[in-house]
Subunit: 337 residues, 2 copies
């Protein structure tokens, strides 16, 4: 192989085949991908409803503390399936490469995707590579789509929220957004800070297994737009949400970076954080499950659903003040995922 | 809405939600997308094996005679499922937008995707939008992934090819590649030439319904790399393929453009052409089905599988000469899809 990506790697010809065989199929090693058909044809799925999702990833820089664009592309799609109540099964991977990208960089990303897929228990079964001329893309974009199976009896929707329901999160918020931004801007500040990028399907499966299937109302991973945006997506015509500011876990270095830079950790992106709304009767049990898991050890109850201010998310501060938490307006941190 | 795409349209906040609601959900109108969850949760699928595929689209220009990037993105994924023997069911759509793209352009593309999806009988049920800064992408890239169902008894694979099997194609080759290239280069030549971009699932379903399920060996849509590349992917350790040059349908204007530009129509991309290998006993029946369909009226038997030169594709010319047809090397026409 050449050591950089050429336009011919996207032509469908000899170099495309070599790239597929020597890079993608080698690292995403599985029998389905080896078939190299136009579509992967899979075994019959277990019973249940099909969940289907997609996300593109354009993060800059490609590598950051705690992850890289490949790990992100697998975790993001796995997590979108998991919060829908699905057991993630199969992923596709579509690459858009800029002519001149080093093959070594691409291979690092592919190895990371393969390792993350193994950790999450999913297979990457179908893929595609396009190459655009130098300057027509920023090094490397990835799209992943995923399918999973939702148990027939499990219903999750913000429409199921009732006053009194308890809101939990599995740990500190804002880590991913701030870690990527500090890396991008070359700020040494918070050298120990890493993205929280992680597959949450194992943790979420434990939560769902621990409580009756109608006790979990809805879940969402708080990616772009952060915790504040998820909560704003959940409030409705008859339900509001109240959050205790001091109950929301935020790392000290994230808080300090946010203060310095004029950002709000409630809006900063996460890539390993799930927000869960549950029947109040199981909140303690869910919190215990979260805290017993490596990805939930800083889990917390952060608030509850209320009938008193429908359509609004209200934050209570330790000084007794209350303020409305709006949905994110504008672009806080572009290209964060 | 603003009239151009801003970075904030990809932030996950207010503008992202407006774009999803006012543009994507409006045109891709369906109840699943309206749920706006992280993943679409679908009805239980009909019995059979799951087919899964993905492709990214980076074609330039975005609009060309006979199609546009949106129509291409739906047809390409529908066709990848159909040639795997699947009934296409659901698609995802991931957009990577360049800051400054006009919303009018995006809407034209989305309307085209919606119309093509309706024509193909598939639903676009999950999506994602990322925005990158001006100069970091070339206006608009689309990824589509798709799922479909393959009947339990249908097995299709180049491994099933046997000497004597007949190769057919549903019409003229090279139309898409040459139409896009002439448009891109501003060549008036061949003004009547249009891309063949079309969903082939209806045509392929008719073929499969017309013959016993084991009579079709394999199918492939001849996109990047053209007919020559598909045939080279099919030959194996014990099977070669022989093609009659005069039997391969090529439009006169495509042939003339290729001669002028030093291209070979066998390598030019198609977006509405399926290559089908069948048991010789059903070849006449399959040809009749193709020719009775609007997308197959120029269908033809173009050659057969042979044991006499395993691993090679041989083209016979009208003058009795025979030449080896190699897999595409290099990049004939970049960004053709």
């Amino acid at each position: 192989m050449n050591d950089i990506i050429l336009l011919a790697h996207g032509s469908g010809g000899v170099l495309s085949h070599e790239l597929t065989r020597d890079l993608f199929a080698r690292h995403f090693d599985n029998s389905v991908l080896d078939e190299m058909g136009d579509a992967a044809v899979l075994e019959t799925l277990p019973p249940g409803r099909l969940a289907l999702t997609t996300d593109s990833y354009v993060v800059q820089p490609l590598f950051f503390p705690g992850g890289d664009i490949g790990k992100l592309a697998v975790c993001g799609t796995v997590n979108d399936l998991a919060v829908a109540g699905a057991t993630p099964q199969y992923l596709t991977a579509g690459f858009i490469l800029e002519e001149g990208l080093s093959l070594e960089t691409l291979e690092r990303v592919v190895i990371s995707m393969a390792a993350t897929a193994r950790a999450a228990g999913v297979q990457i079964v179908s893929g595609d590579t396009k190459v655009v001329n130098h300057g027509a893309a920023d090094s490397l974009f990835i799209n992943t789509a995923g399918v999973g199976i939702v148990p027939q009896e499990l219903m999750l929707s913000p429409a199921l929220l009732r006053p009194g329901d308890v809101i939990l999160v599995n740990g500190t918020v804002g880590d991913h957004g701030i870690a990527v931004m500090l890396q991008r801007e070359g700020l040494g500040f918070g050298a120990a800070l890493e993205s929280d990028c992680a597959p949450l399907n194992g943790l979420i499966a434990e939560v769902l297994a621990a409580v009756p299937s109608d006790a979990v109302r809805c879940m969402r991973d708080a990616t772009r737009g952060g915790l504040a945006t998820v909560l704003n997506e959940w409030v409705g015509d008859t339900t509001g949400i109240e959050i205790e500011e001091t109950a929301v876990p935020v790392r000290e270095d994230v808080r300090a970076a946010c203060e310095l830079l004029g950002l709000d950790p409630l809006y900063a992106a996460n890539e390993g954080k799930v927000v869960i709304a549950v029947d109040p009767g199981v909140a303690g049990r869910v919190l215990a499950v979260l805290r017993a898991h490596p990805l939930g050890c800083n889990g917390a109850i952060i608030g509850q659903v209320t009938a008193s201010h429908p359509g609004r998310v209200i934050l209570s501060t330790p000084y007794g003040a209350r303020r409305v938490v709006q949905m994110l307006t504008g672009a806080q941190l572009p290209r964060i995922c």
